[in-house]
Protein backbone atom coordinates (compact mmCIF):
# COMPACT_ATOMS: atom_id res chain seq x y z
CA UNK A 1 0.00 0.00 0.00
CA UNK A 2 1.05 3.55 -0.68
CA UNK A 3 0.94 6.37 1.81
CA UNK A 4 -0.67 9.72 1.18
CA UNK A 5 -0.60 12.96 3.11
CA UNK A 6 -3.88 14.82 3.19
CA UNK A 7 -3.28 18.51 3.70
CA UNK A 8 -6.25 20.59 4.81
CA UNK A 9 -6.73 24.18 3.78
CA UNK A 10 -9.27 26.71 4.97
CA UNK A 11 -10.20 30.12 3.58
CA UNK A 12 -11.77 31.81 6.54
CA UNK A 13 -10.12 32.15 9.94
CA UNK A 14 -13.59 32.06 11.49
CA UNK A 15 -13.94 28.45 10.31
CA UNK A 16 -10.86 27.35 12.14
CA UNK A 17 -12.67 26.97 15.43
CA UNK A 18 -15.22 24.27 14.79
CA UNK A 19 -18.57 23.96 16.52
CA UNK A 20 -19.09 20.82 18.64
CA UNK A 21 -21.12 19.32 15.77
CA UNK A 22 -18.39 20.04 13.24
CA UNK A 23 -15.84 18.57 15.62
CA UNK A 24 -17.92 15.42 15.98
CA UNK A 25 -18.22 15.14 12.19
CA UNK A 26 -14.47 15.47 11.77
CA UNK A 27 -13.78 12.91 14.46
CA UNK A 28 -16.24 10.49 12.87
CA UNK A 29 -14.46 10.89 9.56
CA UNK A 30 -11.01 10.40 11.07
CA UNK A 31 -12.07 7.42 13.18
CA UNK A 32 -13.77 5.97 10.10
CA UNK A 33 -10.38 5.86 8.37
CA UNK A 34 -8.82 4.27 11.44
CA UNK A 35 -11.65 1.74 11.53
CA UNK A 36 -10.64 0.63 8.02
CA UNK A 37 -7.09 0.33 9.33
CA UNK A 38 -5.93 2.93 6.82
CA UNK A 39 -4.72 5.63 9.17
CA UNK A 40 -0.93 5.89 9.29
CA UNK A 41 -0.65 9.08 11.35
CA UNK A 42 -3.50 11.07 12.80
CA UNK A 43 -1.35 14.12 12.13
CA UNK A 44 -1.85 17.48 13.73
CA UNK A 45 -3.88 20.63 13.63
CA UNK A 46 -1.69 23.64 12.83
CA UNK A 47 -2.56 26.85 14.63
CA UNK A 48 -2.83 29.80 12.23
CA UNK A 49 -3.51 32.44 14.89
CA UNK A 50 -1.24 35.36 15.80
CA UNK A 51 1.50 34.32 18.19
CA UNK A 52 1.35 30.72 16.92
CA UNK A 53 2.31 31.22 13.28
CA UNK A 54 5.35 32.83 11.70
CA UNK A 55 7.02 32.58 8.33
CA UNK A 56 10.80 32.72 8.13
CA UNK A 57 12.23 34.09 4.87
CA UNK A 58 15.68 34.81 3.41
CA UNK A 59 17.68 37.74 4.70
CA UNK A 60 16.45 37.36 8.25
CA UNK A 61 12.93 38.38 7.44
CA UNK A 62 10.27 36.98 9.74
CA UNK A 63 6.60 37.72 9.14
CA UNK A 64 3.58 36.98 11.24
CA UNK A 65 1.52 33.97 10.23
CA UNK A 66 0.77 32.75 6.75
CA UNK A 67 -2.47 34.66 6.62
CA UNK A 68 -1.31 38.14 5.75
CA UNK A 69 -0.35 37.38 2.20
CA UNK A 70 -2.28 34.36 1.04
CA UNK A 71 -5.99 33.79 0.84
CA UNK A 72 -6.02 30.33 2.27
CA UNK A 73 -4.03 28.70 5.02
CA UNK A 74 -3.07 25.17 5.99
CA UNK A 75 -5.03 24.04 9.03
CA UNK A 76 -3.67 20.54 9.48
CA UNK A 77 -2.66 17.24 7.94
CA UNK A 78 -2.96 13.49 8.36
CA UNK A 79 -1.29 10.51 6.66
CA UNK A 80 -3.31 7.58 5.36
CA UNK A 81 -2.55 4.42 3.41
CA UNK A 82 -4.40 3.33 0.30
CA UNK A 83 -3.77 1.13 -2.74
CA UNK A 84 -4.06 3.99 -5.22
CA UNK A 85 -4.33 7.75 -5.20
CA UNK A 86 -7.92 7.42 -6.40
CA UNK A 87 -8.81 5.52 -3.27
CA UNK A 88 -7.10 8.17 -1.16
CA UNK A 89 -9.09 10.83 -3.01
CA UNK A 90 -12.30 8.91 -2.33
CA UNK A 91 -11.54 9.03 1.39
CA UNK A 92 -10.74 12.75 1.21
CA UNK A 93 -14.02 13.46 -0.56
CA UNK A 94 -15.98 12.39 2.51
CA UNK A 95 -14.38 14.99 4.75
CA UNK A 96 -16.82 17.66 5.99
CA UNK A 97 -14.31 20.45 5.19
CA UNK A 98 -15.98 21.13 1.83
CA UNK A 99 -19.12 22.31 3.58
CA UNK A 100 -17.20 25.34 4.77
CA UNK A 101 -15.31 26.05 1.57
CA UNK A 102 -12.06 24.35 2.52
CA UNK A 103 -10.05 22.01 0.34
CA UNK A 104 -7.76 19.01 0.69
CA UNK A 105 -4.53 18.40 -1.13
CA UNK A 106 -3.68 14.71 -1.57
CA UNK A 107 0.02 13.93 -1.96
CA UNK A 108 1.75 10.61 -2.20
CA UNK A 109 4.52 10.20 0.35
CA UNK A 110 7.87 9.31 -1.17
CA UNK A 111 9.28 6.53 0.99
CA UNK A 112 13.03 6.51 1.26
CA UNK A 113 14.57 3.26 2.48
Amino acid sequence: MKEFALIFRLKDMADFKPSPEQMQERMNWLAGIAAQNQLVDKGNTLLPVPGSAKTVKPDNVVTDGPYTEIKEFISGYIVIKADTIDKAVAIAKENPIFKIGGNIEVREVLKRD
Binding site: Q24, N28, L30, A31, G32, A34, A35, Q36, N37, L39
Partner: protein, 391 residues
Protein backbone atom coordinates in the same frame (compact mmCIF):
# COMPACT_ATOMS: atom_id res chain seq x y z
CA UNK B 1 2.55 -19.58 48.52
CA UNK B 2 4.58 -20.45 45.45
CA UNK B 3 5.14 -16.75 44.93
CA UNK B 4 6.46 -16.27 48.46
CA UNK B 5 8.70 -19.32 48.17
CA UNK B 6 10.07 -18.13 44.85
CA UNK B 7 11.19 -14.99 46.54
CA UNK B 8 13.53 -17.20 48.51
CA UNK B 9 14.62 -19.62 45.86
CA UNK B 10 14.68 -17.38 42.86
CA UNK B 11 12.56 -17.85 39.82
CA UNK B 12 14.99 -20.35 38.33
CA UNK B 13 13.97 -22.78 40.98
CA UNK B 14 10.27 -22.32 40.67
CA UNK B 15 9.78 -26.10 40.53
CA UNK B 16 11.32 -26.53 43.98
CA UNK B 17 9.05 -23.83 45.33
CA UNK B 18 6.03 -25.42 43.73
CA UNK B 19 6.90 -28.88 45.03
CA UNK B 20 7.30 -27.46 48.47
CA UNK B 21 3.98 -25.65 48.30
CA UNK B 22 2.14 -28.77 47.21
CA UNK B 23 3.95 -30.85 49.86
CA UNK B 24 2.73 -28.38 52.41
CA UNK B 25 -0.84 -28.68 51.27
CA UNK B 26 -0.57 -32.46 51.21
CA UNK B 27 0.68 -32.46 54.77
CA UNK B 28 -2.14 -30.11 55.71
CA UNK B 29 -4.81 -32.37 54.30
CA UNK B 30 -3.40 -35.36 56.18
CA UNK B 31 -2.92 -33.50 59.40
CA UNK B 32 -6.22 -31.63 59.32
CA UNK B 33 -8.14 -34.81 58.59
CA UNK B 34 -6.78 -36.33 61.79
CA UNK B 35 -6.64 -33.34 64.09
CA UNK B 36 -9.18 -30.94 62.65
CA UNK B 37 -8.50 -27.58 60.97
CA UNK B 38 -6.24 -25.40 63.15
CA UNK B 39 -7.37 -22.01 64.39
CA UNK B 40 -5.32 -20.08 61.91
CA UNK B 41 -4.95 -22.27 58.81
CA UNK B 42 -2.88 -19.73 56.88
CA UNK B 43 -0.31 -19.39 59.66
CA UNK B 44 -0.24 -23.15 60.02
CA UNK B 45 0.45 -23.63 56.32
CA UNK B 46 3.18 -21.06 56.25
CA UNK B 47 4.87 -22.47 59.35
CA UNK B 48 5.04 -25.87 57.68
CA UNK B 49 6.36 -24.30 54.50
CA UNK B 50 8.93 -22.38 56.51
CA UNK B 51 10.19 -25.54 58.19
CA UNK B 52 10.35 -27.34 54.90
CA UNK B 53 12.38 -24.49 53.48
CA UNK B 54 14.78 -24.61 56.43
CA UNK B 55 15.23 -28.33 55.93
CA UNK B 56 15.84 -27.76 52.29
CA UNK B 57 18.51 -25.18 52.92
CA UNK B 58 20.15 -27.47 55.46
CA UNK B 59 20.27 -30.26 52.93
CA UNK B 60 21.66 -27.92 50.37
CA UNK B 61 24.47 -26.83 52.62
CA UNK B 62 25.17 -30.40 53.65
CA UNK B 63 25.50 -31.78 50.15
CA UNK B 64 25.21 -29.51 47.24
CA UNK B 65 27.30 -26.55 48.28
CA UNK B 66 30.41 -28.64 48.32
CA UNK B 67 29.70 -30.50 45.14
CA UNK B 68 27.81 -28.13 42.92
CA UNK B 69 27.28 -24.42 42.75
CA UNK B 70 24.71 -23.47 45.30
CA UNK B 71 21.59 -21.73 44.28
CA UNK B 72 22.75 -18.33 43.26
CA UNK B 73 22.82 -16.41 46.49
CA UNK B 74 22.15 -13.09 44.86
CA UNK B 75 18.77 -14.27 43.79
CA UNK B 76 17.77 -15.93 46.98
CA UNK B 77 17.09 -14.59 50.39
CA UNK B 78 18.66 -15.73 53.58
CA UNK B 79 16.56 -18.28 55.38
CA UNK B 80 16.92 -16.29 58.58
CA UNK B 81 14.71 -13.59 57.14
CA UNK B 82 12.11 -16.03 56.10
CA UNK B 83 8.77 -14.51 56.93
CA UNK B 84 5.16 -14.87 55.93
CA UNK B 85 3.44 -11.65 56.80
CA UNK B 86 0.47 -10.42 54.81
CA UNK B 87 2.72 -7.69 53.35
CA UNK B 88 5.30 -10.21 52.23
CA UNK B 89 2.63 -12.36 50.64
CA UNK B 90 1.20 -9.37 48.78
CA UNK B 91 4.67 -8.17 47.74
CA UNK B 92 5.71 -11.60 46.53
CA UNK B 93 2.57 -12.05 44.52
CA UNK B 94 3.05 -8.65 42.99
CA UNK B 95 6.64 -9.45 42.06
CA UNK B 96 5.47 -12.77 40.67
CA UNK B 97 2.94 -11.07 38.44
CA UNK B 98 5.74 -9.00 36.99
CA UNK B 99 7.92 -12.08 36.56
CA UNK B 100 5.24 -14.15 34.86
CA UNK B 101 4.16 -11.41 32.49
CA UNK B 102 7.23 -11.78 30.38
CA UNK B 103 7.17 -10.56 26.79
CA UNK B 104 9.40 -13.52 25.87
CA UNK B 105 6.22 -15.59 25.98
CA UNK B 106 3.18 -15.35 23.74
CA UNK B 107 0.01 -13.81 25.13
CA UNK B 108 -1.66 -17.17 25.47
CA UNK B 109 1.30 -18.65 27.32
CA UNK B 110 1.47 -15.70 29.68
CA UNK B 111 -2.17 -16.14 30.54
CA UNK B 112 -1.74 -19.87 31.10
CA UNK B 113 1.29 -19.32 33.26
CA UNK B 114 -0.40 -16.60 35.28
CA UNK B 115 -3.38 -18.84 35.88
CA UNK B 116 -1.20 -21.73 36.92
CA UNK B 117 1.34 -19.96 39.10
CA UNK B 118 -0.67 -17.06 40.46
CA UNK B 119 -4.15 -18.51 40.57
CA UNK B 120 -3.38 -22.16 41.20
CA UNK B 121 -5.22 -23.60 38.19
CA UNK B 122 -4.45 -27.23 37.35
CA UNK B 123 -3.52 -28.36 33.86
CA UNK B 124 -6.99 -29.94 33.51
CA UNK B 125 -8.70 -26.71 34.52
CA UNK B 126 -6.59 -24.80 32.02
CA UNK B 127 -7.37 -27.28 29.28
CA UNK B 128 -11.03 -26.89 30.11
CA UNK B 129 -10.87 -23.11 30.06
CA UNK B 130 -9.04 -22.93 26.73
CA UNK B 131 -10.81 -25.87 25.12
CA UNK B 132 -7.51 -27.59 24.43
CA UNK B 133 -6.01 -30.94 25.26
CA UNK B 134 -4.14 -31.22 28.57
CA UNK B 135 -0.99 -32.27 26.63
CA UNK B 136 -1.11 -29.08 24.59
CA UNK B 137 -1.40 -27.00 27.72
CA UNK B 138 1.41 -28.93 29.39
CA UNK B 139 3.72 -28.33 26.46
CA UNK B 140 2.80 -24.68 26.32
CA UNK B 141 3.56 -24.28 30.03
CA UNK B 142 6.86 -26.10 29.76
CA UNK B 143 8.01 -23.89 26.94
CA UNK B 144 6.89 -20.78 28.79
CA UNK B 145 8.76 -21.83 31.92
CA UNK B 146 11.94 -22.43 29.97
CA UNK B 147 11.65 -18.95 28.53
CA UNK B 148 11.16 -17.50 31.99
CA UNK B 149 14.24 -19.21 33.33
CA UNK B 150 16.36 -18.14 30.39
CA UNK B 151 15.23 -14.56 30.70
CA UNK B 152 16.56 -14.50 34.25
CA UNK B 153 14.11 -11.94 35.59
CA UNK B 154 14.91 -11.57 39.26
CA UNK B 155 12.09 -11.87 41.68
CA UNK B 156 12.71 -9.62 44.60
CA UNK B 157 11.43 -6.33 45.83
CA UNK B 158 10.13 -4.46 42.83
CA UNK B 159 11.79 -1.23 41.90
CA UNK B 160 10.38 1.67 39.96
CA UNK B 161 12.47 0.70 36.94
CA UNK B 162 11.22 -2.91 36.84
CA UNK B 163 7.70 -1.67 37.07
CA UNK B 164 8.04 0.91 34.34
CA UNK B 165 9.55 -1.56 31.92
CA UNK B 166 6.94 -4.23 32.50
CA UNK B 167 3.74 -2.56 33.57
CA UNK B 168 2.30 -2.37 30.06
CA UNK B 169 2.80 -6.09 29.54
CA UNK B 170 1.37 -6.84 32.97
CA UNK B 171 -1.75 -4.80 32.30
CA UNK B 172 -2.17 -6.38 28.89
CA UNK B 173 -1.94 -9.87 30.38
CA UNK B 174 -4.51 -9.08 33.05
CA UNK B 175 -6.73 -7.51 30.39
CA UNK B 176 -6.46 -10.61 28.22
CA UNK B 177 -6.99 -12.87 31.20
CA UNK B 178 -10.18 -11.03 32.01
CA UNK B 179 -11.37 -11.15 28.40
CA UNK B 180 -10.57 -14.82 28.21
CA UNK B 181 -13.15 -15.23 30.95
CA UNK B 182 -15.62 -12.65 29.74
CA UNK B 183 -15.71 -13.74 26.11
CA UNK B 184 -14.67 -17.30 26.80
CA UNK B 185 -15.07 -20.04 24.25
CA UNK B 186 -16.19 -22.38 26.96
CA UNK B 187 -19.83 -22.56 27.91
CA UNK B 188 -18.97 -23.28 31.48
CA UNK B 189 -20.29 -20.35 33.46
CA UNK B 190 -18.28 -21.12 36.57
CA UNK B 191 -14.98 -21.20 34.68
CA UNK B 192 -15.73 -17.86 33.14
CA UNK B 193 -16.58 -16.21 36.42
CA UNK B 194 -13.45 -17.63 37.99
CA UNK B 195 -11.18 -16.27 35.23
CA UNK B 196 -12.73 -12.82 35.54
CA UNK B 197 -12.48 -12.73 39.30
CA UNK B 198 -8.86 -13.89 39.27
CA UNK B 199 -7.94 -11.14 36.81
CA UNK B 200 -9.74 -8.64 39.01
CA UNK B 201 -8.03 -9.92 42.14
CA UNK B 202 -4.60 -9.46 40.57
CA UNK B 203 -5.50 -5.96 39.40
CA UNK B 204 -6.66 -5.10 42.93
CA UNK B 205 -3.28 -6.32 44.15
CA UNK B 206 -1.62 -3.80 41.84
CA UNK B 207 -3.66 -0.93 43.27
CA UNK B 208 -2.64 -1.85 46.79
CA UNK B 209 1.02 -1.03 46.24
CA UNK B 210 1.82 2.67 45.81
CA UNK B 211 4.41 1.81 43.15
CA UNK B 212 1.92 0.10 40.89
CA UNK B 213 -1.22 2.03 41.78
CA UNK B 214 -1.19 4.01 38.54
CA UNK B 215 -4.00 5.69 36.66
CA UNK B 216 -3.92 2.94 34.03
CA UNK B 217 -4.28 0.18 36.60
CA UNK B 218 -7.28 1.96 38.10
CA UNK B 219 -8.82 2.40 34.67
CA UNK B 220 -8.35 -1.29 33.90
CA UNK B 221 -9.87 -2.23 37.24
CA UNK B 222 -12.82 0.07 36.63
CA UNK B 223 -13.35 -1.66 33.29
CA UNK B 224 -13.25 -5.07 34.97
CA UNK B 225 -15.78 -3.98 37.62
CA UNK B 226 -18.24 -2.58 35.08
CA UNK B 227 -17.98 -5.66 32.88
CA UNK B 228 -18.24 -8.05 35.83
CA UNK B 229 -21.38 -6.32 37.03
CA UNK B 230 -23.14 -7.82 34.00
CA UNK B 231 -21.70 -11.33 34.28
CA UNK B 232 -24.81 -12.79 35.90
CA UNK B 233 -27.12 -11.17 33.36
CA UNK B 234 -25.15 -12.30 30.31
CA UNK B 235 -26.25 -15.92 30.37
CA UNK B 236 -29.59 -17.44 31.22
CA UNK B 237 -30.39 -20.61 33.15
CA UNK B 238 -29.75 -22.74 30.08
CA UNK B 239 -26.30 -21.20 29.68
CA UNK B 240 -27.29 -19.32 26.55
CA UNK B 241 -25.92 -15.87 25.85
CA UNK B 242 -28.29 -13.00 26.58
CA UNK B 243 -27.69 -9.97 24.36
CA UNK B 244 -27.04 -6.67 26.05
CA UNK B 245 -30.35 -5.16 25.07
CA UNK B 246 -32.29 -8.14 26.35
CA UNK B 247 -30.54 -8.39 29.71
CA UNK B 248 -32.47 -8.13 32.93
CA UNK B 249 -31.01 -5.00 34.46
CA UNK B 250 -32.05 -6.08 37.93
CA UNK B 251 -29.37 -8.74 37.66
CA UNK B 252 -26.64 -6.14 37.21
CA UNK B 253 -24.51 -5.99 40.32
CA UNK B 254 -24.85 -2.44 41.61
CA UNK B 255 -22.06 -2.78 44.16
CA UNK B 256 -19.62 -3.66 41.37
CA UNK B 257 -20.82 -0.70 39.33
CA UNK B 258 -20.08 1.51 42.32
CA UNK B 259 -16.62 -0.05 42.69
CA UNK B 260 -16.11 0.69 39.01
CA UNK B 261 -17.09 4.32 39.50
CA UNK B 262 -14.68 4.57 42.40
CA UNK B 263 -11.74 3.23 40.37
CA UNK B 264 -12.67 5.29 37.34
CA UNK B 265 -12.48 8.45 39.44
CA UNK B 266 -9.09 7.31 40.75
CA UNK B 267 -8.00 6.78 37.18
CA UNK B 268 -8.56 10.41 36.25
CA UNK B 269 -5.80 11.60 38.57
CA UNK B 270 -3.24 11.65 35.79
CA UNK B 271 -3.32 13.45 32.45
CA UNK B 272 -2.76 10.34 30.39
CA UNK B 273 -5.65 8.69 28.67
CA UNK B 274 -4.96 5.05 27.95
CA UNK B 275 -7.08 2.58 26.06
CA UNK B 276 -8.18 1.23 29.43
CA UNK B 277 -9.58 4.65 30.30
CA UNK B 278 -11.56 4.72 27.08
CA UNK B 279 -12.83 1.18 27.43
CA UNK B 280 -13.77 1.79 31.06
CA UNK B 281 -15.60 4.92 29.93
CA UNK B 282 -17.54 2.96 27.31
CA UNK B 283 -18.36 0.30 29.85
CA UNK B 284 -19.48 2.99 32.28
CA UNK B 285 -21.95 4.41 29.75
CA UNK B 286 -23.34 0.94 29.25
CA UNK B 287 -24.27 0.83 32.93
CA UNK B 288 -26.50 3.86 32.44
CA UNK B 289 -29.74 2.97 30.73
CA UNK B 290 -31.79 5.99 29.80
CA UNK B 291 -29.37 8.84 29.28
CA UNK B 292 -29.98 10.44 25.89
CA UNK B 293 -26.36 11.33 25.40
CA UNK B 294 -25.31 7.76 26.08
CA UNK B 295 -24.63 6.59 22.53
CA UNK B 296 -23.14 9.90 21.44
CA UNK B 297 -20.63 9.60 24.26
CA UNK B 298 -19.94 5.96 23.50
CA UNK B 299 -19.27 6.81 19.85
CA UNK B 300 -16.88 9.59 20.89
CA UNK B 301 -14.97 7.15 23.08
CA UNK B 302 -14.84 4.54 20.32
CA UNK B 303 -13.55 7.21 17.94
CA UNK B 304 -10.69 7.91 20.33
CA UNK B 305 -10.08 4.23 21.00
CA UNK B 306 -9.74 3.32 17.34
CA UNK B 307 -7.21 6.13 16.92
CA UNK B 308 -5.06 4.68 19.72
CA UNK B 309 -5.19 1.10 18.52
CA UNK B 310 -6.85 -0.54 15.54
CA UNK B 311 -8.64 -3.80 16.07
CA UNK B 312 -11.48 -5.35 14.05
CA UNK B 313 -13.59 -5.67 17.21
CA UNK B 314 -13.21 -1.98 18.02
CA UNK B 315 -14.00 -1.06 14.41
CA UNK B 316 -17.20 -3.13 14.52
CA UNK B 317 -18.30 -1.91 17.92
CA UNK B 318 -17.69 1.65 16.80
CA UNK B 319 -19.96 1.08 13.82
CA UNK B 320 -22.66 -0.27 16.12
CA UNK B 321 -22.45 2.91 18.22
CA UNK B 322 -22.51 4.94 14.97
CA UNK B 323 -25.77 3.21 14.04
CA UNK B 324 -27.26 4.08 17.41
CA UNK B 325 -26.47 7.77 16.84
CA UNK B 326 -27.00 8.22 13.10
CA UNK B 327 -29.34 5.38 12.23
CA UNK B 328 -28.86 2.04 10.47
CA UNK B 329 -28.93 3.38 6.93
CA UNK B 330 -25.89 5.58 7.39
CA UNK B 331 -24.19 2.92 9.47
CA UNK B 332 -24.49 0.35 6.66
CA UNK B 333 -22.27 2.57 4.51
CA UNK B 334 -19.72 2.84 7.32
CA UNK B 335 -19.90 -0.88 8.04
CA UNK B 336 -19.35 -1.99 4.45
CA UNK B 337 -16.17 0.06 4.24
CA UNK B 338 -14.62 -2.16 6.89
CA UNK B 339 -14.54 -5.15 4.50
CA UNK B 340 -13.92 -7.67 7.29
CA UNK B 341 -15.51 -10.36 5.15
CA UNK B 342 -14.05 -13.33 7.00
CA UNK B 343 -15.17 -12.06 10.39
CA UNK B 344 -18.48 -13.46 11.65
CA UNK B 345 -19.18 -10.39 13.79
CA UNK B 346 -18.93 -8.28 10.66
CA UNK B 347 -21.71 -10.24 8.98
CA UNK B 348 -23.76 -10.37 12.18
CA UNK B 349 -23.50 -6.58 12.40
CA UNK B 350 -24.52 -6.13 8.76
CA UNK B 351 -27.40 -8.54 9.34
CA UNK B 352 -28.53 -6.43 12.27
CA UNK B 353 -28.21 -3.17 10.31
CA UNK B 354 -30.18 -4.54 7.32
CA UNK B 355 -32.90 -6.09 9.48
CA UNK B 356 -35.18 -3.08 9.26
CA UNK B 357 -34.73 -2.23 5.62
CA UNK B 358 -33.55 -5.09 3.45
CA UNK B 359 -34.58 -8.40 4.93
CA UNK B 360 -33.06 -10.64 2.21
CA UNK B 361 -29.69 -8.99 2.72
CA UNK B 362 -30.06 -9.30 6.48
CA UNK B 363 -30.74 -13.04 6.20
CA UNK B 364 -27.86 -13.50 3.78
CA UNK B 365 -25.45 -11.86 6.20
CA UNK B 366 -26.72 -13.75 9.22
CA UNK B 367 -26.28 -16.99 7.27
CA UNK B 368 -22.70 -16.11 6.35
CA UNK B 369 -22.03 -15.33 10.01
CA UNK B 370 -23.52 -18.69 10.95
CA UNK B 371 -21.11 -20.45 8.60
CA UNK B 372 -18.09 -18.54 9.97
CA UNK B 373 -18.64 -18.77 13.70
CA UNK B 374 -17.46 -21.69 15.80
CA UNK B 375 -19.22 -20.66 18.99
CA UNK B 376 -22.28 -22.73 19.87
CA UNK B 377 -24.03 -19.96 21.75
CA UNK B 378 -23.56 -17.59 18.85
CA UNK B 379 -24.94 -20.13 16.40
CA UNK B 380 -28.07 -20.42 18.51
CA UNK B 381 -28.47 -16.64 18.65
CA UNK B 382 -27.99 -16.30 14.89
CA UNK B 383 -30.46 -19.07 14.11
CA UNK B 384 -33.06 -17.34 16.26
CA UNK B 385 -32.52 -14.09 14.39
CA UNK B 386 -32.87 -15.73 10.98
CA UNK B 387 -36.01 -17.47 12.11
CA UNK B 388 -37.51 -14.21 13.31
CA UNK B 389 -36.80 -12.55 9.94
CA UNK B 390 -38.28 -15.39 7.90
CA UNK B 391 -41.53 -15.39 9.87
Amino acid sequence: MTAVLCRHFGLKHIEIAEDMASDTFLKASEHWALHGVPENPTAWLYTVAKNKTKDYFKNISAFETKIRNPINLEETQDEQHFEYSPEIIADSQLAMIFAVCNPANSNQSQICLALQILCGFSVEELANAFLSKPETIKKRLQRARTNLRNDNFQIKKLTGIDIKSRVDVVLKTLYLLFNEGYFSKTNHKQVRIELCSEATRLAVLLTENPLTNTAQVNALLALMCFQSSRLAARTNDRNEAVLFEEQDRNLWDQSLIQRGNYYLINATNADEISKYHLEAGISYWHTTSTDKKKWRNILKLYNQLILIEYSPVTALNRTFAFAKVYGNRKAVVEAEKLKLTDNHYYHALLGYLYSETEIPKAIENFETALKLTKSKTEKQTLKKKIKRLIE
